[in-house]
Assembly symmetry: C2
Homo-oligomer: 326 residues x 2
């Protein structure tokens, strides 16, 4: 048999006869031939690998998205490389994966990287297939998969308004993050359209961790006049906040209602069970991986930026209730 | 300049003069030369990449270890590929990464893979550098990095005994997992040596998730005679258990003490804050990555199996207290 026939039998078995397939399989068994992916990557310019850039693998919000990404990638025969906390102003390590042909495309889950950095990454000689997931960069010339954060934040705040709260505070996310801005905007929009009071001191500096939520609680506890309900930028901040006010004897939801954002696994098992906006993390990860691999395998000419927007769902549990009569 | 000199200037810059380094750097700039990692991997038989096999990226216990692994690998210039939930009886996908030269070594965090599977993986033609982390396979001919689970479980149970409990139950981990067996053994050893009652119905089937803990709680609630304290196989099971008994009006620790295992981030923010055995996750991840890369870069002859054992620490918080007087 010619080299071309053997190669065809291995890479496109449907193109050869069954007899040829069997002879080649037998030879593979006898000689112990194995595929050298490095050689294959060099020839095909494909590593069958995607790179996922995350702000924090240790955070369960991202790790469950990564879980879904990995499953979808495995289904399509792709490996998953992870780059954690890469941003910090330096995207060179990311670029290196592509310059060295170790990855075929990038799935970006980090809201702290800015548009200029993204555009630099996608410029030649890299010009890599890219999916931006988890945040919206306005009018981005990239494919994005995200949830509508501003709208979901508005829904969360409206839930508190509907319960009868009029003194509502917010724990903000980390400074400079797109999600922080979008969720705060949704919060303010809901208060505005309801004609509710917006008080600067009730908009608390926070972050995405439980410790950040606890810190926001200590700031809030020092206020002369306190809100009766809080919309927290995510579940971790909500949990840290509830836990910290408990140390001062304030019970959620009796003394203060708190709604989170994400619906982490802990939310339904926390005491009290946490009311939150459920993010479709599994769908988000799967869709992002799917879109990226389609992009990698598709014709470069077809790369017209597309925006996928998934919606969130209000999950009402025990951490929100009507305000106590004053 | 000869090809050899250029190659040396790029790969071992300390071996050439500064003038040569500068001339080569300038040529790189002018020509836009980039390193092709596929070609380099093919030549060096090295992918500068390690593969981490996990049972569940979505579980914060593993994701924080992965975080530490990724940081150490990045520091040494290695990328990290993740393989999630691979085991399920099929290690072929793992083997493929090595047969195709996409990874240089394997770091295994999954306690559900058995010794025969491991030995098959490390046999030729794979014969890959391997570190088994997070569990002990008795007398394993592999490098292992782990915590002493049986001893830590004994310590956890002794804490409950010291508080005055004599009716102590256990929520077991998933069946067939090494960790499950070790932690149950430590639990039984502590009860035995204290001469405390061991009652089969107080050893509850559980698992590593919050839902598993909740299920164990429902089993326990149906018992005629209940324990006054529980050692849970991990923090997630402990949290699910505490949350579920609260629905039946049982308050932890007033009505039942619960100690967990791991010290996840949520443990100190849970209500009540969780008493637990802290696992050195960050050290474990870092040490495992370090050992694996040493193994990859070291001489094959020096691969005498080594066992690193890290110790756990009792963290006393609010979920354990003396039993109520009967």
């Amino acid at each position: 048999m010619s080299t071309a026939t053997v190669s065809r039998a291995l890479s496109r078995p449907e193109r050869v006869t069954e007899a040829t397939r069997e002879r080649v399989s037998e030879a593979v068994r006898v000689t112990g031939y194995t595929l050298n992916q490095s050689a294959r990557s060099l020839r095909l310019q494909s590593a069958r690998t995607i790179l996922v850039a995350l702000p924090d693998i240790g955070n369960p919000f991202f790790s469950t998205i990564l879980d879904a990404i990995e499953r979808e990638a495995a289904r399509r025969g792709y490996g998953v490389l992870v780059a954690n906390r890469f941003a910090r102003g330096d995207t060179d390590p990311l670029r290196d994966y592509f310059l060295s042909n170790r990855a075929d495309g990038l799935l970006l889950l980090d809201g702290s990287i800015d548009r200029a950095q993204l555009e630099a990454l996608t410029r030649a000689p890299t010009s890599l297939p890219l999916i931006v997931a988890c945040e919206a960069i306005a009018d981005a010339p990239f494919h994005t998969v995200r949830t509508d954060n501003a709208y979901a934040a508005e829904q969360a705040t409206r839930h508190l308004l509907r319960l009868g709260h009029s003194r509502i505070g917010h724990i903000k996310g980390p400074a400079g993050n797109v999600l922080t801005a979008e969720r705060e905007a949704g919060f303010l929009a809901a208060l505005c359209s309801a004609g509710a009071e917006i008080r600067a001191e009730w908009v608390l500096h926070g972050g995405f961790s439980m410790d950040d939520g606890a810190r926001a609680a200590r700031t809030m506890l020092d206020l002369q006049e306190r809100p009766t309900a809080i919309f927290a930028t995510n579940d971790e901040a909500a949990i840290g906040f509830i836990s910290e006010i408990a140390r001062s004897g304030l019970i959620c939801p009796r003394d203060m209602s708190v709604i989170g954002f994400d619906d982490l696994g802990i939310a339904e098992h926390f005491l009290p069970p946490l009311t939150t906006m459920r993010q479709p993390r599994e769908a988000l990860g799967r869709l992002a991986a799917e879109a990226l691999i389609d992009l990698i395998e598709g014709a470069p000419g077809k790369r017209v930026p597309r925006q996928f927007v998934l919606s969130s769902q209000l999950i009402v549990r025990g951490s929100t209730a009507p305000p106590r009569p004053r």
